[in-house]
C-alpha cells in the first residue's frame, strides 16, 4: 500500500525526468487494461518502469511480457479486439518486426496506442535516434504523432488515447520521440494529477468486442476483391477525419494544461521568409538558432510537423505561403535519390501554390549523428542564398532546389 501511495500524484508537479520516464508515467496514469511489450533499446526504460508499476500493485494492468515485438503487437491486437484498452511500446528494429501486424491493427480499426522511441534501423546495427523506423511504417494506416521533448512525449501519449478511441477515428496511434535525445535526456516535465489524466482519457467503452460472447463477431475475415478496397477506403477516410479530432483534442488539452497542440507548430512564422520544416527534437535546437538569427535581422522561421499522419498538407500550405525559401529536414532517407519522405510530401503539399517558395531538402542525423546549431544556421545561410538567386531566376532555382538533397553533417569522403 505504501508503494502505491508513493506513486500517486494528487497535485500537479514539475519533475525532472527523461522522456522514457515521462512516457511510463503517462502510461501509469492512463492505466490501460493490457500492456504487452518486449524490451529494446532505447524503449527499455518505458517497459521496465511499467513492469515495476505492475509489480508494486500501482496499476491493475495485465502485463504480458512477450517473447518478441511481433508477439507484442499481435497480443495487443488480440487484447484490443477483445475489448481492452491496450498498449505496447517499441523502437527501431522492434517496430520493423511488427511491420506486418501494424497493417492488421489499422485494418481492424483497433484504437491501440504505441509509444515509439525512434531508433535507426540496421544494418549496420545502431541503437541511436533517427526516424527511419517510423518513416518505414508511415503507410500502415496509423496516426503518427512526434514529440519535440519529454513534456510533449508525455502530453502526446495522453492525447493519443482520446484520438485513437474517438468514435469517428478508431485508428491506432504511434507516438514518436527521438531515441536517447528525448528518451534519455533529463528535462523538467509538468506531470498532471492522476485524476486529471483519468478524467481526460475517460473510460474505454468499445462498441463491439470479442469478449461480448452473447454477441459473437468474427474479427479479421478474409476480404477479397469485392470488399477489401472499401475497408481500406474507410480507413483512409478515418485517418483524414482524424486531423480535426487531433486538433480538437489538442485544444481541449490546452485548456486543461495551457499547452495547446495542433498538427503543426509554427515558430516565429508571422513574417518569416526563410523557413525550416522539421520533425522532433531538432525543432528545439532550431528555435534557439532562429532567436539568434532574428537578433541579427534574419527573417527565419520554423514549422514543426507534430503530426505526420494524417499529413498536414493544408497547414503547411497556409504556413509556407508567404515564405521565400524552405528547407525540409529529414532524419530518414527514402533512398529515392530525392532525400526523405517529409521533403517529398512537403513539396507535394505546396504544389500549384501561386508564388510557392523555393523548397529544398536535407537529410541529417542518421544513426543519432548530432545536429548542431551551426549546422542549422548553415541551412538558413543556404536558404538566404537560394532566396536571393530566386529573385532573378525563380523557375530555374526552384527546379534545382526541388530536385537536390544535401546531407548535413556527414563526411562525404
Amino acid at each position: 500500500m505504501a508503494a502505491t501511495e508513493a506513486y500517486r500524484i494528487t497535485e500537479r508537479r514539475r519533475m525532472t525526468m527523461t522522456g522514457a520516464e515521462a512516457t511510463a508515467e503517462a502510461m501509469r496514469q492512463i492505466h490501460p487494461d493490457v500492456v504487452a511489450a518486449y524490451p529494446i533499446t532505447p524503449q527499455t526504460d518505458i517497459v521496465m518502469r511499467f513492469a515495476r508499476f505492475v509489480a508494486d500493485g500501482v496499476v491493475q494492468t495485465e502485463f504480458v511480457p512477450v517473447e518478441s515485438e511481433h508477439s507484442a503487437l499481435s497480443a495487443v491486437v488480440g487484447a484490443s479486439a477483445a475489448g481492452a484498452r491496450a498498449m505496447t511500446a517499441t523502437s527501431g528494429p522492434g517496430l520493423a518486426l511488427m511491420h506486418e501486424i501494424l497493417y492488421v491493427a489499422a485494418g481492424y480499426r483497433l484504437p491501440i496506442v504505441m509509444p515509439v522511441a525512434n531508433r535507426a534501423l540496421s544494418g549496420p546495427i545502431n541503437i541511436h535516434g533517427d526516424h527511419s523506423d517510423s518513416m518505414g511504417s508511415r503507410d500502415a494506416g496509423w496516426i503518427h504523432i512526434y514529440a519535440e521533448n519529454a513534456q510533449e512525449a508525455y502530453d502526446n501519449l495522453i492525447q493519443a488515447v482520446r484520438i485513437a478511441e474517438h468514435p469517428e477515428v478508431r485508428v491506432p496511434v504511434l507516438v514518436g520521440q527521438d531515441g536517447f535525445i528525448i528518451t534519455h535526456g533529463m528535462e523538467i516535465v509538468e506531470v498532471l494529477t492522476d485524476d486529471e489524466v483519468r478524467a481526460f482519457v475517460g473510460e474505454y467503452q468499445p462498441e463491439r468486442y470479442l469478449l461480448d460472447v452473447d454477441h459473437p463477431m468474427t474479427v479479421g475475415a478474409l476480404a477479397l476483391q469485392n470488399s477489401y478496397f472499401e475497408l481500406k477506403r474507410q480507413l483512409a477516410e478515418a485517418v483524414k477525419r482524424s486531423a480535426r479530432i487531433i486538433a480538437d483534442v489538442g485544444e481541449e488539452f490546452g485548456r486543461l494544461t495551457g499547452r495547446y497542440y495542433g498538427l503543426t507548430e509554427p515558430y516565429r512564422m508571422e513574417d518569416a521568409e526563410l523557413v525550416i520544416v522539421v520533425i522532433g527534437s531538432t525543432a528545439g535546437t532550431a528555435k534557439d538558432v532562429i532567436d539568434e538569427l532574428r537578433g541579427r535581422g534574419v527573417k527565419a522561421g520554423l514549422v514543426k510537423v507534430r503530426v505526420f499522419r494524417p499529413f498536414p498538407a493544408r497547414n503547411l500550405r497556409d504556413l509556407l505561403r508567404q515564405a521565400r525559401a524552405v528547407a525540409v529536414l529529414d532524419r530518414a532517407d527514402s533512398y529515392s535519390g530525392l532525400g526523405g519522405p517529409l521533403f517529398a510530401e512537403t513539396k507535394a503539399a505546396l504544389y500549384g501554390l501561386p508564388q510557392a517558395p523555393v523548397v529544398t531538402g536535407y537529410v541529417y542525423g542518421l544513426g543519432g549523428r548530432d545536429i548542431t546549431p551551426e549546422m542549422i544556421a548553415s541551412v538558413y545561410d543556404d536558404l538566404g542564398q537560394l532566396a536571393e538567386r530566386a529573385r532573378t531566376d525563380y523557375a530555374a532555382v526552384a527546379a534545382e532546389a526541388a530536385l537536390s538533397v544535401r546531407y548535413l553533417g556527414v563526411r562525404e569522403r
Partner: protein, 316 residues
C-alpha cells in the same frame, strides 16, 4: 463424458456453408473440440485453410467469437485475448467464465508460428491450442512443412528419380510442447471422437496452457478418397504412425494401444502422396518408413512406461 448424440445436439460453433473441400478434416477437429467445451469460448485462428474457408467476408461460419490476426501469431493473439479477459474480470467488467481456444494448421503451428506459440505457453496463459495437423502447407498448395512425414511427396518435396519425397523426419511438436512443462499436452485424431472430447475436457480442467495435436487428413494433399478421411485418420492410429497419447502434468500415457498394430503400409497405401513408396521395387523406402514408425512408437511406450498390451510395464 457426453455421448455422440448429446454432442451432436450442442450448438454448432461452425455452421455449414463454409467452403472447405468435401472430405476435409479440419471442420471435424473444430466441431469436436468446441462442442466438448461447456463454457462460452473465444476462438483465435491462424491464417490457413480453416480461416480462409470459414470467414469469407461478409460471411462467417463461426457462431462463436472468432479472431484471425495473421499466419504466425495465433499463440500471441489468443494470449492477448486471455490477458484482456483477466484484466476486465479484475476490473469487474466481465463476470462470467469464458474459455479460450486457438486453432492453427501445422504450418502456422510447427513452423512459422512456433515462436509465438512457445512464448504463449511459457507465459502460462489459460488457453487450449489445437493444431489441426494435415502434415503440409495445404492452403498454398501442398508444400512440405516440418510436420510432413518421411517419404511423403509434396509440391516442394516431390518424389522424383533422384529424391524419394521428403527425406527428413517429422518434427515431434507434441513432445516439444510437453517439454514446455505445461499442464496438459495430447495427441489425437479427428476419427477418435471419444478420445478427443475426453482430452479437450481435461484440457479445460487444468489451470494453465494446454496443447492438443489433432491429425486432420487433407484429402487433396494426401490424395485420398473424400469418403476415406476418417478411415485414414483411424489407420494412422491403428498403425501407430500417429499414436494417441497425453502428457498430463508430466505423466506420459498412451491412450490407445491397438490390439494388433497394423503394418504402416495399410495407412500409406490409400494415399497418393506415398504412391512412389509402392513403386519402389526394392521395398527399401517402405521398410525405412516402417522402421521409423516402430522406433518412435517404442520410444513413446518406453516414455509412458507402457508395454504393447497397453499395461504398465514393470518398473525396476
Amino acid at each position: 463424458m457426453p455421448t455422440l448424440k448429446e454432442l451432436a445436439r450442442r450448438p454448432n460453433p461452425l455452421t455449414g456453408g463454409h467452403s472447405a473441400c468435401a472430405g476435409c478434416g479440419f471442420p471435424q477437429a473444430v466441431r469436436l473440440v468446441l462442442m466438448s467445451i461447456e463454457e462460452p469460448v473465444v476462438v483465435a485462428g491462424a491464417t490457413g485453410c480453416m480461416e480462409v474457408t470459414t470467414t469469407t467476408y461478409p460471411n462467417t461460419a463461426w457462431t462463436v467469437p472468432f479472431i484471425h490476426n495473421a499466419f504466425e501469431n495465433a499463440g500471441a493473439t489468443i494470449s492477448g485475448v486471455e490477458a484482456a479477459y483477466r484484466a476486465l474480470r479484475r476490473r469487474g467488467k466481465i463476470d462470467r467464465e469464458i474459455r479460450f481456444v486457438a486453432f492453427g494448421g501445422d504450418g502456422g503451428t510447427y513452423d512459422i508460428g512456433l515462436q509465438s506459440l512457445s512464448g504463449a505457453m511459457e507465459r502460462g496463459h489459460r488457453f487450449l491450442y489445437v493444431c489441426y495437423d494435415n502434415q503440409a502447407y495445404m492452403n498454398t498448395g501442398i508444400q512440405r512443412s516440418s510436420a510432413t512425414p518421411y517419404g511423403a511427396s509434396t509440391t516442394t518435396s516431390p518424389a522424383g528419380e533422384a529424391v524419394p519425397g521428403k527425406i527428413q523426419r517429422r518434427k515431434d511438436l507434441t513432445a516439444i510442447m510437453a517439454a514446455h512443462g505445461i499442464p496438459y499436452v495430447a495427441q489425437s485424431t479427428i476419427a477418435h471422437w471419444q478420445d478427443l472430447t475426453r482430452k479437450v475436457k481435461r484440457a479445460m480442467e487444468v489451470d494453465g496452457p494446454a496443447f492438443i495435436n489433432v491429425l486432420a487428413p487433407c484429402r487433396l494433399g494426401w490424395g485420398t478418397d473424400p469418403a476415406m478421411t476418417i478411415r485414414v485418420a483411424e489407420l494412422a492410429a491403428e498403425t501407430c504412425a500417429w499414436p494417441l497419447y497425453e502428457v498430463d502434468h508430466g505423466q506420459w500415457r498412451v491412450t490407445y494401444v491397438p490390439k494388433q498394430k497394423l503394418p504402416v503400409e495399410e495407412y500409406l497405401r490409400p494415399q497418393e502422396r506415398f504412391r512412389h513408396v509402392f513403386q519402389d521395387k526394392s521395398g527399401q523406402l517402405l521398410a525405412a518408413i516402417q522402421r521409423d514408425v516402430d522406433e518412435q512408437w517404442e520410444a513413446l511406450l518406453a516414455k509412458a512406461g507402457q508395454s504393447v498390451d497397453g499395461k504398465a510395464a514393470a518398473r525396476a
